[in-house]
Amino acid sequence: MADRALSTLPLKIRETRRRRVSLAPFLQAPWLWAAALLVCLLIVLPIVYLMMRALGAGSGLLDVFLNPSLAATLARTAGLAAAVTFSTVLIALPLAWLTTRSDLPLRRMWTVLSVLPLVIPSYVGAYLFISFLGPRGLLAQALDGITGGKALPSLYGFSGSWLVLTLLTYPYILLSLRAAFQRLNPALEEAALSLGHTPAQVFWRVTLPQVRPALVAGGLLVALYVLREFGAVAMLRYDTFTRVIYTHYRSSFDRSTAAALSLVLVALTLLVLWLESRTRGRGSLVSPGQVPRPQKIVRLGAWRWPALLFCVLIVGSALVLPAGVLLYWLLRGLQAGEVLVPLLEAVRSSLLAGGLAALASLVAALPLATLVVRQPGWASRLAERVAYTGYALPGIVIALALVYFGANYALPLYQSLPMLVLAYVILFLSLALGALRSALLQVNPNLEEAARGLGHPPLRVFFKVTLPMIRPGILSALALVFLTAMKELPATLLLSPLGFKTLAAAVWSSVSEAYFAQAAAPALLLILVSSLPLALITLRENNA
């Protein structure tokens, strides 16, 4: 039986330890634990803040929770999160495979372009999609000659939110998956092929299980993104839970009720994480002793045409379409005599914010990821879950928590660049953590142990042995945080040093006041500027 043969492949499956409270791991790597503890303390700050505020809520709180519409809103939110996660997997899995493992024409170009929708702030993205695909948007107007002025089917509600969020968030899974595909050991696939499996069977039974941690990590990011999403769903008229939280902040300036509701979001996040730990699979899959060889590139043959069509379709609708609307706004405005303001300073600020966020999140995530993978147990599992709450909370909650602690307990740091970077670490740590965790899972600990056995100190082992092997994971962590931080708004607006203006802030303030040309210029720059580091990373990975 082929199945039986497959199970004897030299796969080493390490069972995670049984849930048992043990202090031994702390003694094995005290410095790692100390660093991880520090990071977790930082992440816990917003939750402490929320609890303080929620305690201040009066008796009206009970009414909020007993309101039957709240449960319905929760269900709607969960439904949207599940649908978007599912469809983003369907888009990201083939894209990741095509851009890493096949001879897809113009592969490098697709690699960069397919990731870029990540930098479009979702509020702006929704605005752009409505402008084009809305019932009477640009497309409907262009088709007037054929349709006789009819409206297109409504983009509002569930279907529109699902479409727009899918197109804006699939890169989260794509980036995680690409790194995983790059680290795959071709020896396993070759062995399976030689044992008589068809390529399809190899994909489902050998390849997919190996990239599953990355797939689940990316899916988790998408699901949590939808949970905390506010701007796009407000534009697209789909009431999610976060919109209820925002209504309390915005309409009634009621921070206590908003805080109590945010805690519900934290609980919901923990539930999603628990689900994720069920689907993630037990233990890790690591390749046998030798360092993986370079990937074999699959020749697509005639399949390259449907593959190309797929790429054109996805990149066309997720990137070219919004960028096209922006270009239209820009040209129309310029023609009407709109004056553009210089944006050089904003470019610099955006790059600085994104770059610092990426590096700081990477440094903060490394000890946590190492512990989660190398010392699985209750403590590292707890630390990992805590880390994800920062990403699942709406940005305004994190921002206000840091405003509170900063202004009252760390005034010299308040509204300084280091403080902004701390906020980014809280918000985006989990992006880096997921990517690093998946990468580390693909590294065989025997190699590290061998190096240590030869007398190398742990840090040296990390730099000499581990780091080169998790390189794709590190690059994808950097890219994920960089792109997400470039579009971040609430924390950037409230916590940046005075006068610090990013491109995303310029886009947001201009769109909301209907300065379309003045919004289009920074938005296009944002996409352009983000594509440069991505192009560099892509070039490096091909030289490697």
Binding site: S69, Y127, S131, G134, R136, G137, Q141, G149, A151, A234, M235, D239, R243, T247, Y249, R250, S251, S252, F253, R332, G333, A336, E338, L352, G355, L356, L359, A360, V363, I396, A399, L400, V403, A407, N408, L411, Y414, L417, P418, V421, F463, L467, P468, R471, I474, P490, L493, L494, P497, L498, K501, A506, S509, S510, V511, S512, E513, A514, Y515, F516
Partner: protein
């Protein structure tokens, strides 16, 4: 260059950047005035620059949305770096009123009483009218009712747009509650909801949807239309209609500013408010942002009906402070989540 050295040099570069950003900027003699502005940079940056030039006082602005800046001020309390809060609407100023210092009477005297806080903690800087924006291909002014009550008629079913989360809309509902009473306001809201209005996230998407013909009419502030006319040209198929009915149908509201009590820069802050109420700044708002001046003797934009003709004199903005009651009512009828 190896991957490792790349990473290390990247990190070193970042450290240098942080240090560079942290080092104190060239110390200027005058302490800068810090403004938290809920009004967009596109709208107010030019006039703030003009203040810097005429007064010689350097200004630092933190731009954001009014409610988020209000929440920030509340969290900061006495440690706020802000000297002035420049808000989009009285609701935002009301939310932080215990943090605001009373403004001296001579500063406020040029402003009509109904455009300022009776306890002088904030003052209106520019006025905005609530209007109906309608699609000119489908409607003419003659098709529109004279007051808000007319829109509960079933003939408007599926043709309207509104933005219940919008602060100006909520102020209009508060004005209804003050003038009409709770019961009639609830009936009006339920009547509109029965007409299945499209729900928007703010004023500007409503104007866009009306111009495109997605809906026929919507409840908005008056000045958004002019942005569209400027970028899309006169052919943009929407215009404003000022309801002549009086009361909440003809509401005029303000964007305003107040000085933080915790500010150690009170003199400069007062100079700023004084400048914003000067004819120069008021003319800027009238000409550049298409708003209404709050002082006498400033010419409104020629495309706007003069303030005196708006039949709006009977509602005092200070009586519109019960935002919480309005939000509760909107939640009860299901207009807000």
């Amino acid at each position: 260059m190896s991957f490792r050295t790349t990473l290390i040099s990247l990190f070193a570069f970042a450290c240098v950047l942080v240090l560079a950003a942290c080092s104190p900027a060239s110390a200027s003699e005058v302490q800068p005035l810090v403004i938290y502005s809920g009004r967009s940079e596109n709208l107010v940056a030019p006039i703030i620059e003009q203040f810097e030039e005429t007064s010689g006082i350097p200004v630092e602005v933190r731009y954001g949305s009014t409610p988020e800046l209000a929440a920030t001020l509340l969290e900061e309390g006495q440690n706020s770096p802000a000297d002035v809060f420049f808000a989009q609407d009285p609701g935002g100023l009301g939310a932080v009123e215990e943090l605001l210092a009373p403004l001296p009477e001579e500063l406020l005297s040029p402003v009509s009483k109904r455009f300022r806080d009776p306890e002088s903690r904030w003052v209106g800087i520019s006025g905005r009218a609530r209007v109906i924006v309608y699609n000119t291909d489908k409607l003419s002014e003659a098709d529109l009712p004279t007051d808000l009550e007319g829109f509960t008629d079933p003939q408007w079913k599926g043709r309207l747009g509104w933005a219940p989360t919008n602060a100006s809309f909520q102020t209009m509902v508060t004005a209804m509650r003050v003038t009409w009473g709770e019961e009639k306001t609830r009936e009006w809201l339920e009547g509109i909801i029965a007409n299945e209005p499209a729900v928007f996230d703010g004023n500007s998407p409503i104007v866009a949807a009306v111009g495109a013909g997605e809906i026929d009419a919507g409840f908005v502030n008056h000045y958004y239309l002019f942005r569209f006319l400027q970028e899309e040209g006169e052919s943009f198929a929407a215009r404003n209609y000022f309801l002549p009915g009086g009361g909440p149908s003809s509401l005029v509201m303000v964007a305003g500013a107040g000085i933080l009590e915790s500010s150690d820069n009170q003199a400069a802050a007062q100079k700023f408010i004084d400048f914003m109420l000067s004819p120069v700044a008021q003319q800027y708002f009238a000409t550049q942002t298409f708003e209404y001046p709050v002082i006498e003797g400033v010419v409104t934009h020629r495309e706007l009906p003069p303030l005196e003709t708006l039949n709006a004199a009977d509602i005092d903005l200070a009586s519109l402070s019960d935002l919480q009651g309005t939000v509760s009512l909107l939640q009860e009828v299901g207009a807000l989540p």
